[in-house]
Structure formats: structure tokens, C-alpha cells
Symmetry: C2
Subunit: 339 residues, 2 copies
């Protein structure tokens, strides 16, 4: 029997393996390195729904001709504190990294700057996009829309994507405070797991194909849709994400792009928005200590853990012992790399 942790790879080795897979499937060397690094980091941190689990989807989408792995993003300097990027139908991560030096320069110069990415595909977690800003001392907020699978509160037809919001802030004496949360009540993967196990969901997770509330995961998957988290409040956040990620950037709304001509396409073709703030501006040099203070208060009040903390524990273990992979998954990756 294959144990779940048969293989342990160093982060560098996993990156190299994934990079080879991306390169084999029409991704340029620069973009392959970025995507491999991103995906390996998700696997390393235990964000397994966005780790190597996604590789088959990346490959399928690339081979469908839906996403351009060789896209060279075009960075536009449109204002002292405003950067736009046309991702040219490629992935957002290379687009973001292409704009990042200019963005950071603008944040330092002005105290805040925004980055608006359009015509971009996002297929990963959102925390890897914001955490590095906090590592450099900045506060970062990012939103990205995806593909229509969430009905508006009280509605019957999917309009929103899962539309995550991610936030990162420096925290003195600890890893940055980071959260990355979907605006939907539940992740699609968890609905699939419940369907397979034959378990009902808690109320409020989704609707069936007629827009009626259901606790049956199969009914949600069979033409139904998810609900926003937290009723009308999560709904408003999902709508704000559409406005910032698509209307403001010039990208597509979650229900707007047409991938029907690309069999196997899986990556949402939308937009992404970043707000990055320099907390040191204005002489508030105790910021990171203050953030540590409020985080401590929350833990002292009885909250079990802060979002992101479990990732850092998993990361530290992986850095010591290697990233655990099952033999089966490792063989699958090798097969993709040598296909």
C-alpha cells in the first residue's frame, strides 16, 4: 500500500519538476519558473487544493489553447501610484511579477499604489500573491474574480466566481498576518468530497439547478451553484471583487468570458487588483508591533489560531523534512514531465 508520505522532495526539486512540466506544455522558461515556484509553494504550505493537484488542470488548459503560456505581459505606468498590466491572455503571476518592481517603487514614493491586471488567468491560491509584500514591510490587499459558480444572495443564477480576498500585513516577531478567503460559503472541492462520501452539506452552502436551496452536494454539482458566505454581507464582498477585479481593471466578469471553443479549458480568464500600502509612511513606525499586539489579543481571547499560521507550521516542517508526496502523485508528475 502506498503511504501518503512516501516521497519527500526539497522545494527546489519540486520546483524543477513542475517547471519541466510547464515547459513541456508550451510555457516560456520565465513563466514556467514563476508558475512552478507558485505551485510548489502551495504544496509545501499544505494548500493542497492549489498545489500539485492543479497540475493536470494547468496542462489541460494549456493544451486547449485557452491560456497562452508564452504571453509576455505589458506593464503600463499610468500614474504616480497606478500601474496597469495587460497579461495578454497569460497567467496573472508573471504579469504581477513583471509589474512588481515598478509597483514597489511607487508604494515607497507615494505611500500607496495600486496594480490592475487584466486579460489574465488565475488558477492558484491568492496568498502567494500578497504574502511577499508583507515580507518586505508593506500591507497588501488583493482580489481576483474567477468563473460564475456562485448565485447572488436570494438569486437563482450564478453570477460571481468564488472571488477570494487576500490580505497580508507585517507582524513583529512572527510571520506576516495573512488571510486568503473565498467569498463563497464553501470551496467547490469540499462539495465534491461530500458528494463522493454521500454526506449532506450544512444548510446555506448552495442551490440546485432550479435555484432552490439544497444540502445535497450532488444537486449543487449537477447544474446548481454555491452561495456566498455570510448571507448578504459575503454577497456584497463578492460583488465588490467583481467591480475591482474586472470593471476597474478592464478584465472580464466571472460570467462573461467564453471558453466553449477550448475543450479542456479550466483557467478563469478575468482580472486581478492589488492595493499596496507603506505603513511606515506618516511616521507610524510601531505598526508591525501593533499588529502583533492585536493578533495576540485575538489568540488570548480564545480564537484557536490565526489564518495562515497553520501554513507556516507546515512550511517549517517541509523545509526541514522535505515536501511530502505520495509515490502515486510523484509518479504522475514524473510522467507529465517526461511525456
Amino acid at each position: 500500500m502506498t503511504k501518503a508520505t512516501d516521497i519527500h522532495l526539497s522545494h527546489a526539486d519540486l520546483v524543477a519538476l513542475l517547471q519541466k512540466i510547464f515547459a513541456k506544455n508550451g510555457v516560456s522558461e520565465n513563466n514556467a519558473k514563476i508558475l512552478a515556484e507558485n505551485c510548489a509553494s502551495c504544496e509545501r504550505d499544505g494548500s493542497l487544493s492549489h498545489g500539485i493537484f492543479r497540475m493536470a488542470g494547468y496542462v489541460s488548459s494549456l493544451n486547449s489553447g485557452w491560456v497562452d503560456g508564452k504571453a509576455v505581459p505589458e506593464v503600463e505606468d499610468v500614474g504616480p501610484a497606478f500601474v496597469r498590466v495587460d497579461a495578454k491572455g497569460g497567467f496573472t503571476q508573471p504579469a504581477m511579477l513583471a509589474a512588481r518592481p515598478l509597483l514597489i517603487e511607487k508604494v515607497k514614493q507615494n505611500g500607496v499604489a495600486v496594480l490592475a491586471i487584466r486579460r489574465s488567468h488565475h488558477f492558484s491560491a491568492l496568498w502567494p500573491d500578497v504574502e511577499p509584500f508583507a515580507d518586505e514591510g508593506f500591507v497588501a490587499l488583493s482580489v481576483v474574480n474567477s468563473m460564475a459558480c456562485v448565485v447572488p444572495h436570494g438569486g437563482k443564477k450564478a453570477v460571481f466566481g468564488t472571488n477570494p480576498v487576500a490580505f497580508a500585513s507585517p507582524r513583529a516577531g512572527a510571520a506576516p498576518f495573512v488571510f486568503d478567503q473565498a467569498s463563497s460559503a464553501i470551496a467547490h472541492g469540499d462539495v465534491q468530497i461530500a458528494a463522493r462520501a454521500g454526506h449532506d452539506l450544512k444548510p446555506g452552502m448552495g442551490v440546485d439547478r432550479d435555484g432552490q436551496p439544497t444540502n445535497d452536494p450532488k444537486a449543487i454539482l449537477d447544474g446548481g451553484a454555491l452561495l456566498p458566505f455570510g448571507g448578504h454581507k459575503g454577497n456584497s464582498i463578492a460583488l465588490m471583487v467583481e467591480i475591482l477585479s474586472a470593471a476597474l481593471t478592464g478584465g472580464y466578469f466571472s460570467g462573461e468570458f467564453d471558453w466553449s471553443g477550448h475543450k479542456g479549458a479550466q483557467t478563469p480568464f478575468t482580472g486581478q487588483f492589488f492595493i499596496v500600502i507603506d505603513p511606515a509612511r506618516g511616521g507610524n513606525d510601531v505598526f508591525a508591533e501593533r499588529v502583533a499586539g492585536i493578533c495576540d489579543l485575538v489568540l488570548e481571547a480564545g480564537q484557536e489560531r490565526l489564518p495562515g499560521d497553520r501554513r507556516h507550521v507546515t512550511r517549517a516542517k517541509a523545509e526541514k523534512d522535505g515536501i511530502p508526496l505520495s509515490t502515486e502523485n510523484y509518479e504522475k508528475l514524473k510522467a507529465l514531465a517526461n511525456a
Copy 2:
């Protein structure tokens, strides 16, 4: 029996009456005008928990010596896109308005700018702070922390304030899209109104002084606390609001200020943060039409109404017929004005 709509006042007349009350209670002429305008606008729009209902609390807090009605805010230009304001222990609305021309200039110049207000008291709704930015064509996001009355998710001790988030965006052919939502499952003002009216709350809104779930608003107010909306996700938003409103501005956290020496004090002494974006920057001149488009899609999908829309209906009616007040409330206001 007193009907709820015995009296109808014009907005100008209600502002004048409230202004007189503020002036009687130690508020400077400039600040009284701003606060009266704000409070009357809440009443006009049907935001009753932040309308004239709050006047007794304003008066009590002013007379306790806790808030300085005569405070003159100090605006600090700390970067090309960053404004700070020391509200000097006064209300945030005059502090925001003192900084607003400089903030708008910076937004136009740079594409985005932020405003960090500290040592400020916020006792009203948040939508009046953001909606005017959208009226001028800007996208605005604001957060404000308040007083510890919300337990962290899974926790037992109140750490967060109700910590609202407000967002406003231009929308072509319609009033701006605006939401203003507490990070708590219910607004504190609504708990107070329910307690006064003797109504039970829906389940999931709060806990009593022993941390047990309760639907009794009086049990929540009597040593109990509210819960965050949407479980751990609303909780993360509440924590982000503390970080932006207090850590980043240099203000107090919701659980940090000490008003014990000021009997009758009711106004939270914290901070407030604004991000204001110029959507026209970068040539995206179809922005407002795109926002109207996604709002239409949400309504077509079956959502009953967008947040803010009911306020605009109520406002239009009040502008035609006057703002409805019960005789009892009108007499109370007159008594405060002539005290």
C-alpha cells in the same frame, strides 16, 4: 395614539434642529453643522439606528467630557498619496472633511490615495463617509473600528468592535453602488433598537455574559457580546479592520481606550482608514457602465435589491414629503435643543 409619521421635517429644518442641539452641548459651529448634516442624512435615508436615535448618546458623550466637540483636526500631508489626520479627540467626520480637499487632489494626481485618521470618535453610519466620493466619480473603501463588543470566532472575550466596512462605486445611470456592513453579525445600533422595542433577535447574533448563545438583545448588551458575521471569514475581516483603522493610523484598538473616567461616554475613540481610487486612471473610461452592468446581472439573477438601493428610495420619498418623525421624537429633539 401617536402615529410614527406625525411630523414631516425638511432636511434643512432637521439639520438646523440637530445643529442647535450639538451647539448647546459644546460643539463648535463648524463641527455642529457637519454632525447635524450627517445625522439628519441617516434619518432621511432610513438608517434609523444612526439617525436621531443617536442624539441622546451624542449629548451624553459630549457632556461626559469624553469627546471634544470643539476639536480642530490637524491635517498632515505625509506623502504624495498619503494623508494623516489627528482628530485631536473630536469626531471623525470633521477630521475627514478637513482632509478631503487634499485627499481628492492626491487621488486625481496619483490615481489612488489613502487617508488615515486617528484619535477620532465615530458614532454614525459609515456610508455617508464613502458615498460622496462615488458621487464625484471615485471608488472609496473605508473601515472604522469601534469598541470591543465582538468575540473572535471561537473566542470568549470581546476584542473587536462592530468594525464596519463601507464601499462605494460610481454606477452609470443610477445612484452609486454603496454598501456599509458591520463585521459583526448585527450592528450594535440594531441591538439597542431591539432592546428598546423588546424584540428578540434572530439566532447567531450574539452571546450573553457567560459566552452562551442568546437571542435576547438585553443579554447581549448586559455584559454579553456580538458574534462576527460569516464565521471565521467575517472574523478575519474584523481583524483586518482593527489593523487598518488602528495599527495603521496610530489610533486605539477597539478594546484599548479607557473611558471609565467619563460617566455617560458612548462614542468609541479609535481610528478610521480610507482608500480612494480614481477609476478613470489608466484609460478605463467605461468603468461606471461596467459597474452598472454587473449590478444589473445580479438583479437579473434574482437578488431582490442591491445594498443602498432602499436608502435611495427612502431618500427620494423624504425629499418629496419631508423626513417623517413621531411627535414624541420631535418633542424630545426640541427639548434637547431648548434645554
